[in-house]
């Protein structure tokens, strides 16, 4: 048995995490998203000057898991709170972490205007096609035909409309800097997601504008699938509707070659 020395260590739990086990369901990719943010904060040495804004949703207790200062926003209002913090403390790093109910339903006003104003904040947007915390109701990101607790017969586009593609929508705003969509359903995509999160925080650190990373995520509990099955469901059903890609990359960010 070889000795466990620093050269042999390949990966360990990020320092930016507290010791608290998360309350997320087994397999829920909230945990993965959290971990990627924590890794980036560690790598960029930002923990001491970062303030996170927690949403209302499954991630309402996100502030229990990170070693940073944190505030708790009302449902949907995180981009506005983040604006208030960043305008008062421009040299700190401010990020919001929001679900699809928080950002794409009640919070549409706040996110659009924060992006339009080009607030120099970072938004981590978790899209798992339902309102998780409250028991799996239909969300603005629920797919046509998808059964949820408030669309029991499947989302009927005639009566309940079509989903909102947030990344594409925000990318139309001149004030938006870095708007991308990634996924968390397999290792390759998780790696790409981390790179995007890194770029987003670099965008903020370098003062290059508003950044948002939309992360396609699983919700095994409310999708009524096992964690591994839900990864497949995401790939088969969500990817076609929510294409991965870079929807807005301001020239200054490209030029920065992050």
């Amino acid at each position: 048995m070889a000795t466990m020395t620093p050269e042999t260590l390949v990966y360990k739990r990020p320092l930016a995490f507290t010791d608290t086990p998360t309350h997320y369901c087994p397999g829920c990719t909230h945990g993965t998203a959290h971990r990627l943010v924590a890794e980036v904060l560690d790598e960029m040495n930002l923990v001491g000057r970062t303030i996170g804004v927690a949403p209302v949703g499954c991630a309402v207790f996100a502030y229990n898991y990170f070693q940073t200062d944190f505030v708790e926003a009302p449902h949907g209002r995180a981009p506005a709170m983040a604006t208030g913090i960043k305008r008062c403390l421009p040299d700190r790093i401010v990020f919001t972490y929001q679900g699809d109910g928080d950002l794409a339903s009640i919070g549409t006003g706040e996110i659009i205007h924060a992006a339009a104003r080009g607030e120099n904040i970072t938004v981590i947007f978790i899209n798992n096609a339902n309102f998780g915390m409250t028991g799996g109701q239909m969300a603005p990101t629920t797919l046509p035909g998808q059964k949820t607790t408030s669309s029991p017969n499947g989302r009927d586009v005639e009566l309940q409309g079509y989903p909102i593609r947030v990344a594409e929508m925000l990318a139309t705003l001149d004030g938006a800097g870095y708007i991308v969509r990634r996924s968390l359903h397999n290792p390759t995509n998780i790696r790409k997601a981390k790179k995007a999160i890194r770029t987003a925080f670099e965008t903020q650190v370098r003062g290059l504008g508003f950044s948002l990373v939309e992360l396609l995520s699983t919700c095994p509990s409310n999708w009524n699938l096992t964690p591994v099955e839900s990864l497949t469901w995401l790939e088969e059903h969500m990817l076609p509707y929510y294409p991965l890609g870079d929807f807005k990359v301001a020239p200054s960010i490209t030029a920065a070659k992050i």
Binding site: V10, Y11, P21, P227, L231
Partner: protein, 84 residues
């Protein structure tokens, strides 16, 4: 010859979601059905030889429950100390 790797799964965090098991390229992981964590989950484990320390399990783990080690080969160690 692939590197030799090994992992530690922390009972405090592992929820037995099996994402690591599905993602492990050499398929050397399973749930330990002989034990439960204090929360009542069967924790993940490496159950046979073949771990290369690729850390894909740690990449997919939603709970950051896995620490990954990989044996540094002699030549790699020499390179590391010689290089700059």
């Amino acid at each position: 010859m692939p590197a030799k790797g090994w992992i530690e799964v922390n009972d405090l965090y592992c929820k037995g979601c099996e994402s690591c098991i599905a993602a492990c390229p050499p398929q050397v992981m399973s749930l330990n059905k002989e034990r439960l964590t204090s929360k009542g989950y069967h924790p993940a484990q490496v159950f046979k030889d073949g771990c290369t320390g690729c850390a894909i399990c740690a990449i997919v783990c939603p709970d950051a429950a896995i620490t990954v080690y990989r044996e540094v080969t002699k030549s790699a160690a020499q390179l590391a100390s010689a290089g700059g």
